[in-house]
Point group: C2
Chain length 187, copies 2
């Protein structure tokens, strides 16, 4: 089901500029090469379980998009996983990405349909068996289960809201398989 | 192939305490219920494309693990995606999580085998067709391709290092499918 615009005259719904959203959709409908996006990150190891990423430019809607400033994030491990807790760990960042994406997706898709959302909060849990990472058993290395509970203040039915949230790109990335090419160059 | 300990007497390799890693592995070998971990995040919507997550406690190695302080991360969208660039966006956080996890995994698994790593840096790209998110075409909503290039200063062969990096939990999460349960409760 495509994202359909409501006929409301209010131009901002859920904090989303619905006029701008309509224009984006129309532009991509008429020129599909505008829909190609490429996001990027660079990471540097700082020793042990500590490293940091820098995120700045990306490509989207037909052109390179430079940001004035970059975003940087540390990742570390807690002491039980031999780190010093100087940042959230990588699998925790996956939960943040998933929560953020489900939330934004719900706000945008509801706005496009004229559905008002008053608040959204969520709690996420990811279950992992460390034997996978350690190579001690034939179990998967990543989460074997993720649960998301979203609390939404809205008059729309919960089922409809869940279906809108599932337009989320990160939900797709986590729930479904994806080709990930890893090339190592030594020096 | 299980993670195998080297016979070197150096206890810290790649910034990883190899004695502690050996003890962790031995403990989990003898008591497999120590291998269950649960990571968590909470997220609150701040309107439009802006929201923030809080990450603090987790369960691991048989007990609840409270951190003294929480980690908080904003997510936002750039202007072309109708946000105000107050944070990296959710799909960019996926690249950070993936980069961080491949890096830490390589450092730990190399350390366990006595392989010294002098430096690691990486560049990641994720390709996405916005028509998926917008519901305008039958293409996937998330990345359709992710590429990771890792530059590693080490005397070990590149193929071996790539295989060690792929013990990464986030690599598994992104590359393979996973049950993600999304429950919406309205109020």
């Amino acid at each position: 089901m495509p994202l359909q615009m409501s006929t409301t005259k209010q131009t901002t719904i859920n904090g989303v500029d619905v006029d701008a959203l309509t224009k984006t959709i129309d532009a991509i409908k008429h020129e599909t090469n505008l829909s190609a996006f490429q996001f990027r990150a660079r990471n540097t190891w700082l020793g042990g379980g500590l490293n940091h990423s820098t995120i700045q430019g990306f490509f989207g809607a037909g052109q390179e998009r430079a940001r004035a400033a970059s975003f940087t994030f540390k990742a570390d491990e807690p002491p039980v996983l031999l780190g010093d807790d100087r940042g959230a760990n990588p699998v925790e960042f996956v939960l943040h990405a998933l929560a953020a994406c489900l939330t934004t997706t719900l706000a945008y898709h509801a706005a496009a349909r004229g559905i008002e959302i008053r608040s959204i909060s969520s709690e996420l849990e990811g279950d992992l068996d460390l034997r996978g990472f350690l190579g001690l058993a034939d179990v998967r290395k990543g989460y074997h289960h993720v649960r998301v509970k979203m609390h939404v203040a809205s008059d729309a039915p919960a089922d409809q809201l869940a279906n809108l949230a599932k337009f989320s790109p990160v939900y797709d990335i986590v729930a479904n398989s994806l080709p990930v090419e890893v090339i190592v160059e030594t020096q």
